[in-house]
């Protein structure tokens, strides 16, 4: 035998206890075709070295003149495996590429990716469609703002005055409606999340937290509805039709627009209204907590679409069509559950006198104006002129979400 051989003494370390790590490390330190002279005291070492080297494509020869000594010749397979490997972009946001290939799949951004393997289909894979520079900051904010329904709400808090039974029933009706809407708001980002290429991990993280937010909202609204043991309220066919039309929108930007900018945007006003007129502290608290979360969802939706409309002048046309399509699909449905509307009036009225009802009705009309104002402002931020923003806001579903 000729040539230099790198020595490796394994002591009494066996292959059952990790000797392969040291052998592989020694082989990595020499060129292909280079040799390592292995010695060691484990009685099975020769058997295991032979089998291990064969499986990994390295040469193996006992050294006849020396006991417990074997020569390994480094084979090319490990280098061959990494030939053509590529970095999946870079780990930071400055390492995000315009269109990550499917072959990067679930690899961490910036990882060295072995060629071959599966090409999972993540169809939302264009930076211009999915990315918003605000996403990492919003995610960090969202992660820090998570609250625990068990401790963030004092479920035993009593109202200042006893709540009349029919006002309690109105609260239950509104909660029943909120649960239904939050379930839609959970399913939509969860569905989109599974379609976003993991390269855009901050967007996935944000959508995941958004879904988790909605899961908590579903919990607290359900818990408030059943807090005093009464039956749940009603769910109207029209309300569910309106929500189903949200679930049917496959396009990431349009789904985000209809849900976050218009739907959750309208809900900001609704939740503020409920906090203001809540007859009990639990209702006030949970609508407050939900409103803070929803504001984040709206912020991402607006930021994302603002960014996108700056790149794509045709986007506003697509947004307009989405509103019109949804309006046309819902034109023959009732929209808002009449029970919900009446419950909102009663909550804001606080009693059954004609004067109180008139006051409550006026407050609900103010709420609807506030929702409309909010939608028009957000549409304006996306670049719609005021008259068009007003027209489109008016086409938004009567179901609010």
């Amino acid at each position: 035998m000729t040539g230099e051989r790198a020595p490796l003494d394994l002591g009494f370390l066996s292959f059952e206890r990790g000797a392969h790590l040291l052998v592989a490390r020694a082989l990595r330190g020499i060129p292909i075709g280079g040799r390592v002279l292995v010695t060691g005291g484990d009685p099975a070492l020769g058997v295991h070295l032979r089998a291990w080297a064969r499986q990994r494509g390295h040469g193996f020869t006992p050294v006849p003149e020396r006991s417990a000594t074997w020569e390994l010749v480094r084979g090319p397979s490990e280098l061959q495996r990494w030939q053509g490997a590529e970095r999946a972009g870079g780990p930071g946001v400055d390492g995000i590429v315009d269109r990550p290939p499917a072959r990067w799949g679930l690899a961490a951004r910036g990882a060295l990716v072995e060629p071959g393997g599966p090409e999972p289909r993540f169809d939302i894979d264009r930076r211009e469609v999915v990315w918003a520079d605000l996403a990492p900051r919003l995610y960090a904010h969202a992660a820090a703002a998570q609250w625990d329904p068990a401790t963030a709400v004092d479920w035993a808090a009593a109202p200042a005055e006893p709540v009349p039974a029919d006002v309690e029933a109105a609260v239950v009706q509104v909660m029943t409606y909120l649960v239904e809407n939050e379930q839609a708001a959970l399913v939509v980002p969860a569905g989109l999340l599974a379609r976003v290429h993991p390269h855009f991990r901050e967007v996935q993280q944000l959508l995941a937290v958004q879904a988790a937010d909605e899961a908590r909202h579903v919990e607290v609204f359900s818990r408030r509805a059943t807090l005093h043991g009464g039956p749940m309220g009603t769910s109207s066919a029209g309300g569910r039709s309106s929500l189903a039309s949200l679930l049917a929108e496959p396009d990431f930007s349009l789904a985000s627009f209809l849900l976050s900018v218009l739907g959750e945007g309208s809900f900001l006003a609704l939740l503020g209204f409920l906090e203001q007129y809540a007859p009990d502290p639990v209702t006030a608290r949970i609508t407050h907590l939900a409103r803070v979360d929803e504001a984040r969802h709206v912020a991402f939706g607006v930021a994302h679409l603002e960014h996108q409309s700056s790149l794509d002048p045709t986007l506003r046309g697509a947004l307009r069509s989405a509103i019109e399509r949804r309006h046309d699909a819902l034109v023959d449905t009732a929209g808002l559950n009449a029970d919900v509307f009446d419950a909102l009036v009663l909550l804001a009225a606080g009693g059954w006198t004609p004067a109180a009802i008139a006051r409550g009705h006026a407050r609900v009309q103010e709420l609807q104006h506030a929702m409309d104002d909010g939608r028009r402002q957000r549409l304006a931020r996306l670049g719609f002129p005021p008259d068009e923003a007003a027209e489109l806001s008016a086409l938004h579903t009567r179901n609010f979400m």
Partner: protein, 280 residues
Amino acid sequence: MTTLMGGVAYDPKVVTIWDGFRRWLRGQALDFDYVLYSHYERQVEDLVAGHVHAAWNSPLAWVRSARLAAARGRRVESAVMRDTDQDLTSVVVVRADSPARDVADLAGATVAVGAVDSPQSTLIPLSFLRGEGVRDLAVRRFDVGVGLHGDHIGGERDAARALVAGEVDAACMIDGNHLLFGQEGTLPAGTTRVLAQTPVYDHCTMAIVDTAPPEEAAEFVRLLGTMSYADPEVRPLLDLEGLKQWVPGRMSGFGPLTRAVDEVGFYDASGGVTAAEYAP
């Protein structure tokens, strides 16, 4: 003409492997297809009868193919092997506290082996022990996957477990499985000892019968040889099949198994199946 190869379905992954190889070979303009057998004996008979042109053979199937072909005036070639098919060894393992210091100490002992038709864990090591002069050996066989010629690991693993459980005095297995059993904990570290290691022998080989269309057969072998571990399309298939590279076949490594086959009369000289208690 379609080049047709036989393979034995010892595991569901065989379909993945040969489907993948088939797609790749057809992509290289070779009209290739494969058929799967449930055991090696029918595959060997079909190879020699010319129903398939090539057979991905166990070493035992190679021995029988050569004999059966010769008896019928035909010839088979050991055309191509995996790099991992050459220079294998088997080991005889005892518990760490066994009084045996040498194979001769196994006289009168009970030794666990794999299936009746396993070259690496039954035929070769038992022949080795006979050659070393060990007498009065009681054999406890673990017949898992009979007809698969030891491709199924179950028999060897059961033999290793019997050794750890104290049911037998020694167990026989291929070197790679001894490594695997140690790493996976079937043989807990430090509880067993390698008493002996057989001389080297070869394992699987691609047998090609002389009635196969020669150009296509040669192209098949050539293309296998060009498969590169650097190619991301074939690398997962090579990993599944357990090789880094196909290497030229040889016949020099089947001596220990041929001797074992003759000692126990597993096959007769013309390739007839004469083994006792063998019903694939």
